[in-house]
C-alpha cells in the first residue's frame, strides 16, 4: 500500500529532474524553486480572488462590476467574462506609485510590517496539501505550523499601527490585534477536534485519516467547522469583523499611511490569508484533495494527482466564495459584541466540540464503525447540542413580529 504521506512536492521535482537530466539538484535549490512557486501562486491567486470578490459583490448588489479592462468581446458576452485584466491594471498602478515614507514615522516597523505580513503568508503555505503527495513540505506539525506562523500577522498590524504616528490609528491597530489574539483561541480549539480524530498534526495525515474514518471531519466536528470558519473570518479581518478597516471611516486606520506597493502588500496578504484559512478548513474538515465517493488508488497516478488538485481548489474556492458572500450580506459587528462572541460563545462551544469528537473517536475504536455509522452518531449528537442551545436563545424585541 503506497504511503501517500512520505512524498512532498520537492521530492517530485527532484525525481523529475533526476530522471530527465540525471543531475542531482542540491536541496537548497529545490527549496528556492518551491518558494518561488509558492510566491507565484500567492500572487496569481490573490489577483484572481480580488477580481472574483469584485464580481461576486457586483452580482449580489445587482450590478456588473469591472467590465472595461480586458477583451471587449468577452465583456459583451457575459458579466463573468468581463474585466479580467482589472486587477492587473490595479497592480500596475500601485507599482508605479511613489513609496512615501512619512518623516515622522518610525522607519523600521513601517517598512517591516508589509514585508512581514507577506513572509508570514508564504511560510504558512508550505504545509498546505494542494494535491496527493504534493505539499511543499509535509511537516509533522502541519496544522500547528499554520496557526503558529499566522499568529505573527498580529505583529505586523501592531507595527503598522505604531508607525502611523497617530494616537487614533494606534488604538485602532491595538484593537485589531486584540481581536485577532482573542479569536486565535476558538480557532485552535476548534482544530483540536479533528487533531484528536486524526491522531496527528500532519496535514496529509489529516486527509488520509478522513479516508480511514470514511467521512469528512466536518460531520463529527460540525461545531468545530463552523467555529473555525467564523474565527478565521475574524483572523483575516474581513467584514463583518473588520473593525480596523471600519475605523478608517472615522479615524485613520492602520494602513492609512501606506502608499503604492506597500499598501498592495497588505491587500495581497489579506486575500492570500483568506485563501490560506479556507484551504486549511478544506483540508481538515472537508477532506482536502480526496474526491468524494472515489477510493484513493494504491499507486500514485498523474491523473489522480491532477484530479485531487482540482478537487482541492474547488473546495477551497467554495469556502472563499462563502466568505465573500458573508462580507456583502452582514452589517459590521461592534467591538464589544465581537469580544463577547469570541470568548463567551465560540470558546465554550469549541470545548463542547472537543468532547463530541472524543466521543466519536472512542466509538470508532471500540465499535469499529464505518463512515455511515460515524455520520449517524455525529448527526444525533449535533441534534442534542442544538436542543441544548435552545435554552440560551437570544430574546427578540416584541414589536418586530407583527408585520409580515
Amino acid at each position: 500500500m503506497f504511503d501517500w504521506v512520505q512524498l512532498s512536492g520537492g521530492d517530485h521535482i527532484l525525481d523529475f529532474v533526476t530522471r530527465s537530466t540525471g543531475y542531482q539538484l542540491p536541496g537548497i535549490v529545490i527549496m528556492l524553486v518551491m518558494l518561488a512557486l509558492i510566491l507565484g501562486f500567492i500572487c496569481v491567486s490573490s489577483l484572481v480572488l480580488i477580481w472574483a470578490e469584485r464580481k461576486v459583490a457586483a452580482r449580489i448588489q445587482n450590478r456588473v462590476g469591472p467590465m472595461m479592462t480586458g477583451p471587449r468581446k468577452w465583456a459583451e458576452f457575459s458579466m463573468w467574462t468581463g474585466g479580467l485584466l482589472q486587477t492587473a491594471a490595479d497592480a500596475i498602478k500601485l507599482l508605479l506609485k511613489e513609496l512615501i515614507i512619512p518623516s515622522k514615522t518610525d522607519a523600521v516597523p513601517f517598512i517591516a510590517a508589509p514585508i512581514l505580513i507577506v513572509t508570514v503568508c508564504v511560510t504558512a503555505f508550505v504545509v498546505i496539501p494542494f494535491a496527493p503527495s504534493f505539499s511543499v513540505s509535509d511537516l509533522n506539525i502541519g496544522v500547528v505550523h499554520v496557526v503558529a506562523i499566522s499568529s505573527l500577522t498580529v505583529l505586523s498590524i501592531v507595527m503598522a499601527g505604531w508607525s502611523s504616528n497617530s494616537k487614533y490609528s494606534l488604538l485602532g491597530g491595538l484593537r485589531s490585534a486584540a481581536q485577532m489574539l482573542s479569536y486565535e483561541i476558538p480557532l485552535i480549539f476548534a482544530l483540536l477536534g479533528p487533531i484528536l480524530l486524526a491522531g496527528g498534526l500532519s496535514m496529509q495525515k489529516m486527509v488520509l485519516a478522513q479516508r480511514e474514518y470514511g467521512c469528512w471531519f466536518a460531520l463529527p466536528s460540525l461545531l468545530g467547522f463552523l467555529i473555525y470558519y467564523v474565527a478565521s473570518i475574524a483572523e483575516v479581518n474581513r467584514p463583518p469583523f473588520d473593525i480596523p478597516e471600519a475605523e478608517s471611516e472615522l479615524v485613520a486606520g492602520y494602513v492609512s499611511e501606506y502608499s503604492g506597493m506597500m499598501f498592495a502588500m497588505f491587500f495581497l496578504a489579506e486575500f492570500a490569508n483568506m485563501f490560506l484559512v479556507c484551504s486549511v478548513a478544506a483540508t481538515v474538515f472537508l477532506g482536502g484533495w480526496m474526491v468524494p465517493f472515489m477510493a484513493v488508488p494504491d499507486q500514485p497516478t498523474a491523473g489522480y494527482i491532477v484530479l485531487g488538485a482540482l478537487v482541492f481548489f474547488a473546495k477551497t474556492s467554495f469556502l472563499v466564495f462563502i466568505m465573500m458572500w458573508i462580507r456583502w450580506t452582514f452589517p459590521r459587528v461592534r467591538p464589544d459584541h465581537l469580544m463577547n462572541l469570541g470568548w463567551k460563545y465560540l470558546f465554550p462551544l469549541s470545548l463542547l466540540n472537543l468532547v463530541i469528537c472524543a466521543g466519536v473517536a472512542v466509538l470508532k475504536d471500540v465499535y469499529h464503525l464505518n463512515g455511515w455509522g460515524i455520520s449517524a452518531v455525529s448527526v444525533v449528537s449535533l441534534l442534542l447540542v442544538v436542543l441544548l442551545l435552545q435554552l440560551v436563545r437570544i430574546p427578540r424585541p416584541t414589536s418586530f413580529l407583527e408585520q409580515a
Partner: protein, 165 residues
C-alpha cells in the same frame, strides 16, 4: 552540513537581536528585536529536531507574549522619553562573568549522550503520552495555575476600570 549552516545563521540572528534588545536606545525597536530573538530560538529548536517546540515558541512567545509586551510599550505615554540608566558597568561585568563561568562549567561537565550511545527520538506523540500519563499531575497543576492567573488578571482589570464593564 546544512544543519551546521542553519545553526550558525540562527545563532548569529539570536545573538545580534539579543544584543539589540539590551543595548537599543529605542524601546520599541528593542521589543521588535526580542521578537526576532524568539523566532531565532524557535529556528534553533527546529534545527534540533523539535519542530513542535519551535512552533509553540513562535505561537506563544513571539505571537502572544511579545505582542503583549509591545502593547505595553504602545500604551505608555511618551515612550521615547524613558531614560535608561547606564552606569552599572562594574556590576554588569561581574554578573556576566559569574554567569559565564557557571554556564561553561555546566556545559563542559554535562552528559550529552546517554550511556548506550543511541539517539532517542522525541516527537509530539511521545510528548503527549508523557503529559497524559507520567506527568499528568504537574500538567494539571500548571493548568490550574494558569487559570488562577487568568482570573486574577480579569479581577485586577475590572477594579482598575472602576466597575465599568
Amino acid at each position: 552540513m546544512s544543519e551546521a549552516i542553519a545553526f550558525y545563521l540562527l545563532s548569529a540572528m539570536v545573538l545580534t537581536s539579543a544584543w539589540s534588545v539590551v543595548r537599543n536606545e529605542n524601546l520599541f525597536h528593542a521589543g521588535l528585536s526580542l521578537i526576532v530573538c524568539f523566532v531565532g530560538v524557535a529556528g534553533i529548536y527546529v534545527n534540533l529536531d523539535a519542530p513542535f517546540l519551535g512552533a509553540m515558541q513562535v505561537l506563544i512567545y513571539a505571537g502572544a507574549i511579545a505582542v503583549l509586551l509591545l502593547f505595553g510599550f504602545m500604551l505608555t505615554h511618551d515612550l521615547m522619553k524613558v531614560k535608561q540608566e547606564r552606569n552599572q558597568h562594574a556590576a554588569g561585568i561581574f554578573g556576566a562573568l559569574l554567569m559565564a563561568s557557571l554556564l561553561i562549567g555546566v556545559i563542559l561537565n554535562a552528559q550529552w549522550f546517554p550511556a548506550s550511545g543511541q539517539l532517542v527520538k522525541f516527537g509530539v506523540e511521545s510528548l503527549a503520552s508523557r503529559y497524559m500519563k507520567q506527568d499528568l499531575v504537574s500538567f494539571e497543576v500548571v493548568a490550574v495555575l494558569l487559570l488562577a492567573s487568568l482570573i486574577g488578571a480579569v479581577v485586577i482589570a475590572r477594579k482598575e476600570e472602576g466597575g465599568r464593564e
